[in-house]
Symmetry: C2
Subunit: 321 residues, 2 copies
Amino acid sequence: MTNILILGGGGMIGQKLAGRIIAHDTFKGANLTLFDRAFPAVGVPAKTITGDASDPAMAKTLAAGRPDIIFSLAAVVSGQAEAEFALGWNVNMMAMWHFLNALKAEHDASGGTYRPRLVFTSSIAVFGGPYPDKIDDEFLSAPQTSYGAQKAACELMVSDFSRKGYIDGLSLRLPTICVRPGKANAAASSFFSGIIREPLNGVEAVLPVADTVRQTHASPRAAAKFLTHAAGLDTDLLQGRRALNLPGFGCSVAEQIEALRRAAGQKAVDLIKHVPDETIMGIVAGWPRDFAPTRALELGFEAESSFDEIIAVYMEDDLAV
Amino acid sequence: MTNILILGGGGMIGQKLAGRIIAHDTFKGANLTLFDRAFPAVGVPAKTITGDASDPAMAKTLAAGRPDIIFSLAAVVSGQAEAEFALGWNVNMMAMWHFLNALKAEHDASGGTYRPRLVFTSSIAVFGGPYPDKIDDEFLSAPQTSYGAQKAACELMVSDFSRKGYIDGLSLRLPTICVRPGKANAAASSFFSGIIREPLNGVEAVLPVADTVRQTHASPRAAAKFLTHAAGLDTDLLQGRRALNLPGFGCSVAEQIEALRRAAGQKAVDLIKHVPDETIMGIVAGWPRDFAPTRALELGFEAESSFDEIIAVYMEDDLAV
């Protein structure tokens, strides 16, 4: 039986992924374990382990279970990694280092037969400006945040441990995930979801940037599909370049708002209040906007092709009726 | 008085750099300390400290001296990092991690006034194929060796610790250094120097690859100049991209041999024996060849502009007469 481990299984994407795996029986009766620091009160029905991913002893314990497929989603988010430098590097990079070494120890102990698939969620935060109009698959990683640097460092490790055959890993650079269900969070990107989610729930939303701001989006459902697709991918096709820019739908905030109008009318749009925030405008100005993710598309990764679809997914999957 | 620390000061480039700093009084009466695991019996006259760079306690001791300028050259070389995986990551990445954290601790203890310049020697090994005809400054880092992955990970750390203001660092991706003085070493690139150095010393040399193989070269003297130039550079000019592809002279082995003929005649050329080596041919085929290092050139980094010059530098600086 396939053993599956989701690191960060308590988070939004971890829960979506676990739910999808169970609902679709993606891995045919697989044994699913979720690891995280904490879990939602009402979560996906799966075995959970609670602990600290940056603890080397915990890394050994998790590796000792010899999971066949590992999804690594756990991270200190961007804003916190920037505010708490040591914590960010420790959780976002050193935890991966300890975990990869623990997996290598299992590989060695197995006489080389144990070689798990590891799907690491990286981020477009590995990029830094100035940007070309579209970021292609050969654009350099020059992060301008600690979070981006930590993700990029993990990509290097995942690639090298894989090249040596200790694991069989790849890194997925997720676009902005939208529409995130639940409450607004402290992330500077939170408003991209908020300006859709809040009005659909009859609540006012704040737009802190100009509506000309562009971003590439994929739904939480698309994110879960990216991850399961990556778990089954023939990694020989990656030809040694194991970090992938994933597709999404690139559009301006104005186009997001037009899609909201089509989905829920002018009344919903009227709930968006434009309250410029210089800090958020500054952060967002440093982000990449449009991508040409040729390799990922060729490898079969699929995202939504309109913002209307992204809204429809939110309404289907998460809007309380 | 300026305190200068060279990590890897016992190696070939470390000694060239130290010798140049002393001979030119580059930093006006600076206090120079060399750190390495071992030093040549007859070396540059400077204070030396012997120890293990990957020891966290040693990192603290070195940082406690609060050097104003640090040149970080110490590394396990490419072939050894590939053969000894754990050693390579430990010395080439974790040692930098410990050292940067030790420098940050000094920065914090100083109330933020201590912020050393750190010049890290990275490598074109951060690149991996397939390559464009010329690698420009925006080409991705996708290393295909452990050495390259470790160097790339260090670049990310140097950039992030610098962006946060704990240090003021930059990373120099050196081209192939040629003509290396002394004996051939185990590096797959050793022959690029050997086919020039050995004949100039009246000794036979083996060429293991076709003479159509291209590579980008800079002399040891150019390498030392890169490093001192980087030590004085206004890093604001880097605009947050703190890893630089450095210039060199790109040519084929055939062009190297023609330059040798011009410098030392057919008799020297006749000492080169073509003995194809499939292993070395395979390794060299994975290396980047030609660069368009626009940024470094604009920032004033200079290398030789012909292979004749590179031979002349060897004959002036290193050929025993």
